[in-house]
């Protein structure tokens, strides 16, 4: 049913459709509306779940770990500092190979304190072993959340669904909320073979010595790579039932023969798409939305970049002292390509800085006049900085 809903409410409804046994969360802007809406659903009797209002994000992650290990579908959500506080547990969950879903309402990490959107938080967790799916809009946030459980429970890998804070979470969109019976068909009841069970009392979280550690880590890496077809499959199956998809591992828009491509993650994709439609250019350009950042979809990306001569990687985070995070990874991946495109990497929209519609034109202009650097915080006005800090 199509409804005009705030992103957070839509996500809350999607969570309810997945029938989680346990939800644990700690409030943090801009994730709060998701948890508040879930709490309301529980209070109104529309969602039967154990809602655990914990004393920290650290405990939120720990509670959902315990819940999933004990055999329940579990959900949590956080942002920014909260994700940082969860960090130790997030690595742990992935290492234990326990399935669950977390929504990351992307927000900048302080200091300086900033409550607005960028993707520094989820990017900081890129090595945690979680599958990361980025959402271009709120419909994708809803659909990806439902898909995330299917992926997670098939692969026994945790999934982080990333949606830009405020830009998506606090924005009203017309959203098609799936029907419960269809979701039930799509998502079988939670089953986790290694769950804690007195009838078969296994021990989870053993000490692994150097003798075995490398193999355990290899298997985790291999599991992530093997999850790629599961992610694609989940999207395809979703389309069969619900008539729409999220593009699998990545989505493309624009000229198939394009020689210039702009790749991004999250809601900027929509902004650039609108910008592209407004932009009158003879140049063949296409947009790529890298939906699945972990595991990294190397093959699909290479195929998408076939024939592209210039690639602009636009991201909402950076690794100080190196530059872009996604850009750097793509450069690394392309090093084995036959005719790799030139990669230009920009960070924009940090800490909630507005990404205007003309950003598309500005990026192409910069590419055209050669002013686009290997990496830059593209929308930073350096004149506002003292000379020595530029």
């Amino acid at each position: 049913m199509r409804q005009a809903l705030e992103g957070s409410l839509a996500v809350a409804k999607a969570v309810a459709l997945c029938r989680p046994g346990v939800v644990a969360a700690y409030p943090i802007t801009p994730q709060t509306h998701i948890v508040e809406n879930i709490s309301k659903l529980v209070a109104d009797g529309d969602l039967e779940t154990e809602l655990v209002s914990v004393e920290s994000e650290f405990s939120a992650a720990s509670v959902v770990l315990g819940a999933a290990a004990a055999g329940s579908r579990a959900y949590t959500a956080s942002s920014s500092q909260g994700i940082m506080l969860m960090a130790e547990v997030l690595f742990n969950i992935a290492g234990l190979r326990v399935p669950m879903v977390l929504t990351c309402a992307n927000r900048a990490i302080g200091a300086p304190l900033n409550i607005w959107n960028d993707q520094s938080d989820s990017m900081a967790m890129r090595d945690s072993g979680w599958i990361q799916l980025y959402c271009a809009d709120n419909q994708e946030a809803v659909d990806s959340l439902i898909q995330a459980y299917r992926i997670s429970e098939r692969t026994e890998l945790p999934v982080m669904v990333c949606m830009d804070g405020f830009i998506l979470t606090h924005t009203l969109e017309v959203i098609d909320i799936p029907e419960q019976d269809k979701v039930d068909r799509y998502l079988p009841p939670f089953a986790f073979d290694r769950r804690l069970d007195p009838s078969d009392p296994i021990s989870l979280g053993a000490l692994v010595t150097p003798e075995f550690f490398s193999e355990v880590k290899h298997s985790q890496h291999a599991a992530m790579q093997k999850a790629l077809p599961d992610i694609v499959d989940a999207d395809k199956e979703f389309k069969k039932l619900f008539g729409r998809d999220c593009g699998g591992l990545l989505a493309e828009h624009g000229d198939e023969e394009a020689t210039v491509a702009i790749l991004t993650l999250g809601s900027i994709y929509g902004t650039l798409r609108a910008g592209m439609e407004a932009h009158k250019s003879r140049k063949k350009v296409k947009l790529i939305h890298l939906r699945c950042f972990r595991p990294f979809p190397e093959e699909v990306l290479m195929a998408a970049l076939d024939g592209v001569k210039d690639l602009i990687v636009v991201e909402r985070a950076l690794s100080p002292g190196l530059g872009g995070i996604v850009g750097t990874e793509i450069r690394a991946v392309l090093s084995t390509a036959r005719k790799p495109p030139r990669v230009h990497n920009v960070a924009i929209g940090l800490g909630g800085r507005d990404v205007p519609l003309d950003m598309f034109s500005r990026l192409l202009e910069a590419l055209k006049n050669g002013s686009i650097a290997e990496f830059s915080v593209f929308d930073a006005d350096l004149s506002r900085l003292p000379e020595e800090d530029r």
Binding site: V64, G66, A67, A69, A70, S199, P201
Partner: protein
């Protein structure tokens, strides 16, 4: 739903798998079964083959707690000696479902487990195990949250009064003046400067239905308190004094002796608290001088330096702390009580007397 019938069925199923078969005849010693271990007349929650040091108080305490609580339980275990020595992959000494996540989240993981079981309508009891580091210090916040949210979890802290797993560093539980590697005695210091945190009072201030301290020197007391806690719906807490021969500097054969002296001297009072009030204590029949307890351990050896006036002062300080415990908890009783510090461990042919 008939919880009693189903529960009995379930316990029977679990016992069949992991311990004595209910109602079955014990093996004939003249014709012993091949695996006598399988026929033990008690539930073996923590199996042999774990790698604790010789005479480990914590291993013993964990075994006793698990025996008394099991088999329909699941455990969330904080990082620490207990976790390391029981589960070096591919082996595990546990026969109950067990999970170790991190140092500071045993209580939170347990909260999640309990929430899940509640959601699934199951009656399996969740236990959380932590050392004093994971309970008094780094895991305290998660524990406080668990208690406040009234999760039906029994949290057991095995208190060996320092970070033993990392090599004997001071914790919030280390007694005053004790030597650890981060509170060494020297010209300017006499061991730990600060006091042992009164955790039980803090825990009890959460207004939980039951919190108690017990000691590995009194297995019957442990069993009784575990069973008491198991019967309660809601958060419960046990602090189990568990000597560490390596960290405290005593022979592994003396673990029980040392633990007993701690209780008999008043330095480690055994009390039960309900909703913030002290409801029962183990009375001390004949208070033992604290010095008897101290001198048996290397960690207090500097308190017996012959020509150091500080040594006597600190000894007197510790004696005063014990006297304080005896006074505020009313531990000293004029009359012998069958369950006091002398009577509680009395044995007779066939087992414990009381």
């Amino acid at each position: 739903m008939a919880p009693n019938a189903s529960k009995i069925e379930r316990l029977k199923e679990l016992r069949d798998k992991h311990g004595r078969t209910d109602g079955s005849v014990l093996p004939d010693p003249a014709d012993p079964p091949k695996d006598l271990r399988q026929a033990q007349p008690r539930f073996r929650g923590l199996e042999a083959g774990h790698r604790a040091c010789q005479g480990c108080g914590e291993a013993l305490a964990a075994r006793l707690v698990t025996e008394a609580a099991g088999p329909d339980v699941m455990i969330s275990n904080a990082t620490g000696c207990l976790e390391v020595f029981t589960t070096p992959w591919p082996q595990s000494a546990w026969r109950v479902p067990w999970i170790h996540s991190l140092f500071e989240n045993a209580a939170a993981v347990a909260s999640g487990m309990e929430a899940a079981l509640k959601a699934q309508g199951k009656s399996t009891k969740v236990l959380a195990f932590g050392g004093d580091g994971g309970t008094f210090d780094i895991g305290f916040q998660a524990l406080s949250g668990m208690l406040e949210r009234e999760h039906n979890v029994l949290y057991v802290c095995f208190d060996n009064e320092a970070y033993m797993n990392t090599g004997i560093q001071r914790s919030g539980s280390t007694p005053h003046a004790a030597r650890t590697t981060t509170s060494p005695p020297g010209k300017a210091r006499m061991g730990k400067r600060h006091l042992k945190k009164d955790l039980l009072s803090i825990i009890s201030a959460h207004h939980i239905p039951y919190g108690a301290s017990t000691s590995v020197a009194y297995p019957a007391d442990i069993r009784r308190k575990v069973r008491r806690a198991m019967e309660i719906q809601g958060p419960t807490f046990l602090l189990v004094h568990s000597p560490c021969p390596l960290g405290w500097g005593h022979d592994g054969a003396l673990t029980i002796e040392i633990a007993r002296l701690a209780v008999q001297s008043g330095l480690f009072p055994l009390v039960e608290m309900e909703r913030g009030e002290v409801t029962d204590v183990m009375p001390i029949r004949k208070p033992v001088p604290v010095a008897n307890y101290l001198k048996a351990q290397q960690r207090f050896r500097h308190l017996f330096a012959p020509d150091d006036p500080r040594a006597l002062q600190e000894r007197e300080h510790l004696q005063a702390l014990a006297d304080y415990n005896i006074e505020i908890y009313g531990l000293y009783s004029e009359e012998a009580d069958p369950l006091d510090t002398d009577g509680a461990d009395t044995v007779r042919r066939g087992g414990l007397a009381n």
